[in-house]
């Protein structure tokens, strides 16, 4: 029956999830401390958490409930974006529990089950629970098996069980399938939420508005007008203590497989029939299925490792000198490749993707570079300083959109030069707009999947990347690049053989 209080015309009404609890595995990790716990508090502070909301932490530490409470409180105080309120906290704290145990200890899971049942009867979480696995993928099988064996994964009718997993979703197509088999053996596909925090960002969602709500861009959004597209995610830092996770994974698997291919899909997909999750995902899947890795991998890919040296006034270690990294490591910290999309819209317009650590600055952007006009109305001299028109979607930082076009230089001669038109949706957008994790946690509690990639997308992404990573693994040497630069020489070569160059973001 329709809820008369939820009028579809009522745009103000905020969606509030029904009663439910969140069980967080790996609660002492960096992600939980810096992002998840603060996001939960921020949701509470905005009045968006369900009434009976409860939070159960599960970790190895030998903690009491109150030790855990202090830990949560500290994480919130140092990382939440909304102001501290004692009464919000004390309300939230009433639903906080802790279960101590290893991921392989059935007794701990039995205890967890008891705690969860108590919450149902004491707090009214109504048998609805979400398991958030913020743990290394190698622990997934253990945790999920125990969730099943302890009976925690079983929901009665009218209740839900959901599971949230973080990247990496495997390290190649085969391991992604194996991992998924483990998860989907216990949880049905529509109860599995794969978090890619990039998709929670306002700017990323804005790609859809920019493309499909305007008449200005979509008509020229094809190979007739667009020369090529560059998608960049650059970091200025090194691996900063994540050696254990990063070594053996590398830049391509860490970033290109998920974030950059998702950005590519949103930029290149056909207009979905509607914003219904199924149709949105179908559009993305279709374009990913048509995306092909380069035929000549040597020519159109590039990889490298950052060397040591001075970066921006600071002396930094090279990748091979970082603690925990083997001096013989073959893992790339920079990866770039050309992809081609085999459909009528994009045939002839390559997409160039690059990511790396210790690059010139921290920036994520999509640059759509247009072709030059065919006519020769202006003499060679007049347009010698004119580049290609470009539309740049800045994902972070300084979220917004820039358009680059030519304009006459004031003066007697006809000189045309690049100028930019810039839109920044408020420089404090990052400060006051919901952090990506808030949006995603809320969507998980509501059971709304459009922002979460499903397994098919994950597999298609691996199909694109696998041949590249496999070819790289056979290379004995890996190019070094200067810290603070824009990557190895081969990155520039792969562009120059196509007669193009990377833009300076």
């Amino acid at each position: 029956m329709r809820n008369p209080l939820k009028d579809p015309l009522d745009r103000r009404l905020q969606k509030i999830a029904g009663p439910s609890g969140l069980i967080l595995f790996g609660v002492t990790g960096d992600l939980a401390r810096k992002k998840l716990l603060p996001a939960i508090y921020d949701l509470a502070n905005r009045g968006l958490l369900p009434p009976a909301f409860s939070l159960v932490g599960f970790a190895r530490r030998d903690w009491s409930n109150s030790d855990f409470e202090n830990f949560v409180r500290e994480s919130i105080r140092s990382n939440a974006r909304t102001h501290w309120s004692e009464s919000v906290w004390s309300q939230l704290a009433k639903g906080i529990r802790f279960v101590s145990g290893n991921h392989d200890n059935p007794l701990a899971f039995a205890e967890l089950r008891r705690v969860v049942q108590d919450l149902d009867s004491e707090r009214g979480t109504a048998g609805n629970h979400t398991f958030y696995l913020s743990v290394p993928p190698r622990d997934f099988p253990l945790v999920i098996t125990h969730l099943q064996d302890s009976g925690l994964a079983n929901a009665n009718s009218g209740q839900f069980r959901r599971v949230v997993i973080e990247k990496p979703f495997g390290s190649d197509l085969d391991s992604a399938k194996t991992l998924n088999a483990v998860v989907e053996r216990v949880f049905p596909p529509d109860s599995v939420f794969r978090i890619d925090h990039y998709l929670g960002k306002e700017t990323v969602q804005n790609i859809l508005a920019l493309r499909f709500a305007n008449q200005l861009f979509e008509p020229i959004w094809n190979s007739k007008f667009i020369d090529h597209v560059q998608i960049t995610m650059a970091e200025d830092i090194g691996i900063s203590g994540r050696a254990g996770y990063y070594d053996g994974i590398g830049a391509a698997r860490d970033v290109i497989q998920n974030h950059l291919l998702q950005l590519l899909a949103l930029t290149a997909m056909e207009r979905p029939e509607s914003f219904e999750p199924t149709q949105l995902r179908e559009s993305k899947e279709n374009v990913l299925a048509q995306t092909k890795p380069p035929t000549n991998l040597g020519l159109h890919t590039s990889r490298g490792q950052y060397a040591g040296g001075w970066q921006g006034g600071e002396k930094v270690l090279g990748y091979l000198e970082e603690e925990g990294i083997s001096p013989a490591s073959n893992t790339e910290t920079y990866a770039a490749l050309r992809l081609d999309i085999d459909n009528s819209r994009w045939r002839g317009t390559p997409f160039y993707l690059r990511t790396g650590k210790r690059l010139g600055r921290r920036v994520t952007e999509i640059a759509v570079v247009f072709k030059r006009p065919e006519h020769a109305l202006f003499g060679r001299q007049a347009v010698s300083q004119l580049g290609e028109n470009a539309l740049v979607i800045r994902v972070q930082p300084n979220e917004g959109v820039t358009i680059r076009f030519g304009s006459k230089v004031p003066g007697p001669a006809m000189q045309v030069r690049d100028v930019t038109m810039d839109f920044a949706y408020g420089h404090a957008f990052t400060e006051d707009s919901p952090e990506a994790y808030e949006r995603l946690i809320l969507d998980v509690l509501l059971g709304e999947p459009p922002l979460f990639p499903r397994q098919r997308e994950v597999e298609l992404s691996w199909e694109i990347l696998d041949p590249v990573v496999e070819a790289w693994s056979k290379q004995k040497v890996i190019e070094q690049y200067t810290p603070g630069s824009w990557g190895p020489d081969s990155a520039n070569q792969m562009m120059s053989i196509d007669g193009r160059s990377w833009r300076r973001p």
Binding site: M1, R2, N3, P4, L5, K6, D7, L9, D10, R11, R12, L13, Q14, K15, I16, A17, G18, P19, A44, N45, R46, G47, L48, L49, P50, P51, A52, F53, S85, S87, V88, Q91, L92, K94, S121, E122, R123, G124, A126, G400, D422, F423, A424, Y425, G426, H427, A428, F429, E431, D432, S433
Partner: protein, 308 residues
């Protein structure tokens, strides 16, 4: 940076704004709307602060018209940009009634070209928003009935003079209440509603609007109970919905709402009070007509008055 212009005109103010932009120093972000604020001199700083903070999410040019009671018949202006204006540019125009006679002429030279205009009266407001000189220019008019001398009578005036684009912070203030109610009621939609009750102060326009909304949407009689446990209540204290087989009751104390509903243990959630800033930010998100508000104001409120 704050620039004061004594005995000035709109044209001079506009010229100075342009100069400030060109002389560097002042970064111009993409502004999405012009916000005209009408206020008294004593409420000025509070209003500017709220508008400035809201501009972080909705970059805007803020034009404040502050009426003073001074004898001098000229216009004083103040421009705030950069660090003193958040993500906005603020122009404050101070003058007495005589100088403010033709407000449109004062403001139009300062509006952003082609951007939506929002009028905001943080405190006292004209009874007929759409006919006021600022209201006629704006596509969206935001007032706060709770800040008027007689809030309930003001609500009736709002209803009588309603035009698409009108809005009321007293309505925005209950968005969280409404969201929570809609979420809680979700589990009981198959039950018949017998009657409902809003516990709240009789002079709280928000309480009247909430009762009107519930009454209209649930199609039931909703009464407003201004006494609760013999205590006078201020604002909204709680809501009760009587169903054919039990009762949903939500009671707020401080920031916490206790929810008692059939078939479930008593639970508690958060219902933090909303600041003027929260309300303004929400209102600026939805330009154009607020159809649900119109429906409640025009149909629901009449219903509510007959009922009680």
């Amino acid at each position: 940076m704050i620039v004061e212009l004594r005995q000035t005109t709109t044209a001079q103010v506009a010229k100075k704004l342009q100069e400030l932009r060109e002389s560097g120093g002042v970064v111009s972000l993409g502004r999405v709307l012009s916000l005209i604020v009408e206020t008294d001199v004593q409420d000025l700083e509070q209003a500017v602060e709220t508008a400035n903070s809201a501009s972080k999410l909705h970059p805007s040019r803020i034009i404040v018209i502050a009426k003073n009671t001074e004898e001098k018949t000229w216009l004083d202006a103040e421009i705030r940009v950069g660090g003193d204006a958040g993500a906005s540019e603020v122009v404050i125009l101070r003058a007495n009634n005589e100088v403010l006679q033709n407000i449109e002429s004062l403001v139009s030279g300062l509006l952003l070209p082609d951007a939506p205009i929002v009028a905001w009266w943080p405190t006292s407001a004209p009874v007929n928003l759409g006919r006021s000189s600022i209201g006629m220019m704006a596509g969206r008019r935001i007032t706060d009935s709770a800040r008027q001398e007689n809030p309930v009578r003001f609500l009736k005036e709002l209803a009588r003079n309603y035009r698409p684009g009108d809005g009321d912070a007293a309505w925005t203030r209950i968005t969280l209440w409404r969201s929570q109610l809609a979420a809680v009621y979700e589990a009981h939609v198959d039950q018949e509603v017998v009657q409902a009750k809003v516990f709240g102060s009789a002079d709280s326009p928000s309480a009247h609007l909430l009762a009107a909304w519930l009454g209209l949407k649930l199609g039931t009689r909703v009464s407003l109970d201004s006494t609760s446990n013999a205590d006078q209540v201020s604002g909204i204290r709680g809501v009760e919905i009587e169903l054919s087989s039990g009762r949903i009751s939500m009671t707020r104390k401080n920031q916490t709402v206790t929810i008692d509903q059939p078939g479930q243990p008593i639970s508690a959630g958060l219902l933090p009070p909303r600041s003027d800033l929260d309300c303004l930010v929400e209102d600026l998100r939805f330009l154009g007509e607020d159809e649900i508000y119109a429906e409640i104001l025009l149909k629901g409120l009449a219903h509510d008055n007959e009922g009680s």
